[in-house]
Symmetry: C2
Subunit: 151 residues, 2 copies
């Protein structure tokens, strides 16, 4: 198989496949006499693995670790689980950050008329953080309730 075939079969662009080879994530492909990369079914498997891990949001470094474990038939499942759960924790942290931003913006937007008048609490807040009451930090995660109480 040529690189284009593999690209189609995995959904990873030819460009990225060369890049992954370049940075050492995957092993250099065999070449024809004229220099074309040639891929085996084994390579296809590997690239599919990479694709799925990538879709799950793993970084290249993490995928590298997972690949190593994947190839190591004597690996401990605990090692894999640890990487996976560590990644889950990172995802959750990121989600919380996004949620905080989103909550703040929704709060500000709810105080904004959204008409053709110039007055806008969103801009007021950005210009000076106390123009509109900030979202309170709650001890626990009981969002809206705690919010109402705190007002």
């Amino acid at each position: 198989m040529n690189i284009g075939d593999i690209a189609n079969a995995t959904g990873i662009s030819a460009k990225m496949i060369r890049y992954y080879e370049d940075i050492g994530l995957i092993r250099p492909a065999m070449r024809t006499l004229s220099g074309y990369r040639v891929y085996s079914d084994n390579d296809l498997q590997t690239l599919r693995f990479v694709r799925r891990a990538r879709d799950l949001g793993f970084t290249v470094k993490q995928i590298d670790d997972l690949l190593t474990l994947w190839r190591d038939r004597s690996r401990a499942s605990a090692d894999v689980k640890q990487i996976a759960l560590g990644h889950v924790a990172a995802l959750e942290k990121k989600m919380q950050e996004l949620k905080d931003m989103s909550d703040t913006l929704l709060h500000l937007a709810s105080h904004c008329q959204g008409n053709d008048r110039p007055d806008c609490p969103i801009l007021k807040n950005l210009g000076s953080p106390d123009a509109v009451a900030p979202l309170p930090k709650t001890r626990d995660q009981r969002k809206t309730r705690a919010f109402d109480r705190a007002r």
Copy 2:
């Protein structure tokens, strides 16, 4: 104020302040005879605005738009609200993606012993996606359902 003072006062690094000037997000600062950048209270305000918008996850382009609206005393609040709510939608989309990843990983991890034996459904799944049962699609993901129906 020198750039270091402004950096301290806003929490934006001197490096980034120069960068923002370079890409045209903020106006070039005044200079002393020897070339040092000098900032006014007005500049401080602007940089604080940028800082807050950045903390809310706006891109530089969006901050640029917000700054323009901020400076335009006759802007319509609807314009601002639209940017804010558009950004909220983007944040929510991102959160959903992260949640899907996280759910998938948690599902896989729940089937993994996490001991010193090599058997691991996480790797099995990455190598071949049907090795472990996929997450069931919940009913109220209508977008996905419409897509499924269309196949």
